[in-house]
Symmetry: C2
Subunit: 140 residues, 2 copies
């Protein structure tokens, strides 16, 4: 996902193109890692000091719905990153300090043979947590 495609997605669904939405997408593209709503809010304030909480939260939800962003949560906070769309389904190794990610091409669902009985699957989550070298992981 890049900013241009994200903005086209917005248009395509009939949503309006605003400077704040553009800024939000730009920030997420530039950071390219998981950020909490609070962190995103702070970055937005650099460009729009008077921006409302409501605007940030509402747009984060909208963008997640449109798959412009993908979200997850750890330590009690929801976090977002630009959706690594297009290419095939995959998971992430996540630095719990800075939110940086590394792609994992394994998906455990491939090993699940058929639907379980008495259970309708609606989703799954596979994430590996750790610390990247920038955040203090011991060098190997």
């Amino acid at each position: 996902m890049n900013p241009e495609k994200a903005l086209n997605l917005l248009k395509k669904h009939g949503y309006k193109y605003t400077g704040k939405r553009e800024a939000l997408i730009e920030i997420m593209a530039q950071k390219n890692r998981y950020l909490s709503a609070r962190e995103i809010m702070d970055h937005m304030k650099e460009r729009y000091p008077g921006i409302s909480l409501d605007t940030v939260y509402r747009n984060l939800s909208l963008f997640e719905e449109l798959k412009i962003l993908e979200g997850t949560e750890w330590t009690g906070e929801r976090r977002y990153r630009l959706h690594c769309g297009e290419d095939e389904h995959h998971h992430h190794l996540i630095c719990t300090d800075c939110g940086r990610t590394r792609r994992i091409n394994i998906c455990p669902m491939n090993a699940i043979l058929g639907e379980p009985e008495d259970f309708e699957i609606t989703g799954h989550k596979f994430e590996i947590y750790g610390r990247c070298t920038d955040c203090g992981a011991a060098e190997t």
Copy 2:
């Protein structure tokens, strides 16, 4: 994990044995599924109407630390279930309506060969979400 072992674990670590802690463990053993702090609080109130929020939250944290309970979070709430300790490491299929679980013996970490460079792994999460038949899954 059963109530007896859980209480022994408490003693072993020098914590006191109280009626509320016993009740909390009994409730978790009886329900045997993921419950939110609020739900657990409600069950506790049936036995101890005047129980304090602080007590429930503090004990949930303590029990998770001692691995008497295991926790996860979805839809913005932390949830707990009795730790399926003893036997080998495994994951769960979780009904997001009622918190009931089904065991999965696959662990995707087995397919991760060696440590990644520049990254120190501290944990991982693999959960499959869905709805059990009791909660409205289509019968297969």
